[in-house]
Symmetry: C2
Subunit: 333 residues, 2 copies
DNA sequence: TTGTAGGCGTTATCAG
DNA sequence: CTGATAACGCCTACAA
């Protein structure tokens, strides 16, 4: 690859001049500018960003560590982040932590040695303490989809309790009184918050909380099926189920279909997250929308602001929204 | 951030020695090694990869440009690529081209100036000629999911014709003779190839090709609905539909459901790609599996080989596979 | 085994 | 407006 020196030689000017035209410094004569441009063009010159970064101490890139590069959750988020970053001449370096502590650490190490201008963290495995310590060392770290009180001004997170409340309230409004809940793993704060929202709605409606109606499931693949099966095996009646996420809700769909039943007939089901495929299910799923893209956009903007030395006073809490589709209906009988 | 100099000062050795312990050079006395390690630790030292890359002319990172960072297609691919790369100490820098020529060029420019060790291209907008020219300049570019004859040894692609054949053959084997096809945009080579596979199967079975039964659709979102609607409005009979991808097949699902019909009852439908959500649909979709992850793995390995100077003699063609689920059945009557 | 010193490709300061 | 030249942080002969 051509270097600045080759360009300057070819153009018959100094390296400094080449550098100047690259960086849009206007103190260059028109004639020289043209000569330089021509030379660059001829050589297919691309500045070496390592050298640039070394000299300027700026990398013009921000790093993100997500759970996985695939999946309906992180994808849209990275997408929106990249869009706004790119508009400002920044680039995104994406790494994944696979919800594994060592890998998360490794990813962060990588981004640090890459001297990214900022780091976006969407991590599960790493504990609050470690997070806090890192943030103290590095003022350009932001935490997504997670709330850490000590890091309040660098967190962008969802009001999960409200989501759980909305889902439950929806069923209550439809007339349901026997409402079950299949939660995500309760080690996760968000699962606990969603459950709390469920309790709040129940409470508000004067419905007593019944532990028999609550089962803990997994967010992944068929964690939903297992948990749903468990619920149906218990000897309790219910006409609606509030789920920890869409995957779990799909598990309920599956269990119902074993009896040739469909959601909303005898049992209403409400998901959570509104993954893009939820609308492809039949019946279309009633769910809680999680503004993933918006979270990404906001995060990216916070980064940009921080980089231009605007003081960040507080984090951002996003509101979930109820999306009513076809999997919920008034109880029969 | 601490530099190598600070570490060497603190450890009371030269920078060279610090560099040696970093790079696992064993010609360092145990005592000095320990001193250095302690110093690094104390300072939270992270080598500056810009400086390293500048000095070694190696970045230990490979770049990829995909259509979008989100979506069920690119995600799994990046995921598998990152996995194998990471195992070898390489990192993935992901950028997106949004199927837009300027953005694709920009992404490539970025990766070039990042001096990535190799570039993986999954691009749509860029023409063959431009691709060829780039590959000539840079021997470390690979083309995924696309076949360019002149670049045969750096392409990893799918046997699309076979896929179209398998889908159609499946319906024929079930007893169907009136089989429609909703293709992707025929400007795309893969859509044309899939269509050709359809023709081949028909031909082999002695069924005459009927242009009335073929309609061109879009791969995205509701491109399927529109094309399906068009097909159903034509005055032709058919009992099976072979689709250009799963999205299009979902369009057929939707159209059928308007009449309260379900796939496999009167009309069988076969998708293409086996997106992960296809199994969540009811009835579960019969489709052609596209080994996306495998494509990623292979690509990553090619990169690795090329980096260790193994000569690449040929590209790789992957075989699609028929996945029979519930949306196809023998024709009734 | 260790240290010295030159070089990697840019930027930026400072004279001209 | 232009050109030397000293950083930037690290690696790597070469010498000791």
């Amino acid at each position: 690859m051509a270097t600045i020196k080759e360009v300057s030689d070819l153009a018959g000017v100094s390296q400094a001049t080449v550098s100047r035209v690259m960086n849009g410094n206007n103190k260059v004569s028109e004639i020289n500018r043209e000569r330089v441009m021509a030379a660059m063009d001829k050589l297919g010159y691309q500045p070496n960003s390592f050298a640039q970064a070394l000299a300027t101490n700026r990398s013009y890139s921000v790093g993100i560590v997500v759970g996985t590069l695939s999946g309906p959750f992180y994808g849209p988020m990275m997408h929106s982040i990249e869009s706004v970053l790119r508009n400002e001449g920044q680039h995104l370096i994406a790494t994944s932590g696979h919800d594994d502590l060592e890998q998360e650490r490794d990813a962060i190490r990588f981004l640090n040695s890459r001297r990214v201008d900022a780091i976006l963290l969407v991590v599960q495995a790493m504990g609050d303490d470690e997070l806090i310590e890192m943030c103290q060392r590095n003022p350009n770290i932001f935490v997504l989809n997670r709330y850490v009180p000590e890091l309040a001004n660098r967190c962008i997170y969802l009001n999960n309790e409200l989501g759980g409340y909305l889902a439950t309230k929806h069923l209550i409004d439809l007339g349901h009184t026997k409402i079950a809940s299949i939660t995500g793993p309760l080690v996760h704060l968000d699962a606990r918050e969603r459950l709390q929202g469920y309790r709040n709605a129940l409470n508000e409606a004067g419905i007593e909380y019944d532990a028999q109606l609550v089962v803990e499931g997994l967010y992944q693949e068929d964690g939903g099926n297992k948990a749903a099966a468990k619920l149906f095996q218990r000897d309790v009646e219910f006409t609606g189920v509030v789920c920890g996420n869409d995957n779990i809700a799909i598990g309920v769909y599956d269990i119902l279909s074993l009896d040739n039943e469909s959601p909303a007939e005898r049992i209403s089901v409400v998901g959570y997250d509104d993954m893009f495929y939820s609308r492809y299910l039949r019946p279309k799923m009633t769910t809680i929308r999680f503004p993933i893209e918006e979270m990404g956009t906001i995060a990216a903007n916070m980064v940009l602001q921080n980089l231009s030395n605007v003081d960040l006073v507080k984090g951002v809490q996003l509101e979930p929204q109820l999306i009513v589709r076809e999997s919920s209906a008034p109880p029969v009988g």
